[in-house]
Symmetry: C2
Subunit: 135 residues, 2 copies
Amino acid sequence: MNSEPSAVIPASHEALLQSNAVAVVSTVGPRGEPQTSPVWFGWDGKVLRFSHTKARQKYRNLVRDPRIAICIIDPANPYRYIEIRGTATIEDDPTKAYIDVMSKKYTGNDKYQGNQPGDERIIVTVTPAHVNTMG
Amino acid sequence: MNSEPSAVIPASHEALLQSNAVAVVSTVGPRGEPQTSPVWFGWDGKVLRFSHTKARQKYRNLVRDPRIAICIIDPANPYRYIEIRGTATIEDDPTKAYIDVMSKKYTGNDKYQGNQPGDERIIVTVTPAHVNTMG
């Protein structure tokens, strides 16, 4: 469980967390090396969430080491960004509900079109423990 | 020195490395945790470079552990990206020449406008050792 204190999101960057920007997620690989890739994300005012499958390296990384850093850049202004660091918690998403929420947010489709046979979906939740902003 | 073999950049994503997208750089912090932030970058067909100052956490991270991951998302298509992983080499840039190259690329100004008194500029060079792409 994530028992870290929650960091405050500056009002200046709250809108970026409500935006349709993609988030770039960084995790630590099996040899302690950084790895990074983009995800769709949601923000409810307190925690950031994204959907993933168990087949991906990022899932294995987070099971091993739940520390995570997330960078969201304003698509309209690349000099403006927020970095959120924290500890990820993972829960199963057997109905694949959260990827549909993301599909709706990012594509307008109620149902995610990219599910593959055998996909095991999870929801990754990050409470901001440390926040950096620019712009 | 970086003695890793160089990974091949897929022709499909070469243009992204020539683009004005910003790169999101991931490094590993003092407690082995991931950290991430955007940078201006240049690509010469073989290595990726960016300018930084010695005052920043990213510099201290790379001195301690030169492993780095870089994510570049196509601004015109957020489902298209390239991740480059490798080992960073660092050199001093006493004339601050490379941040001017970046200024020219990203802003059109021959001279970077953001130098602060006492800034010690470095050039970080990354030879791709491992490449992932999507889109």
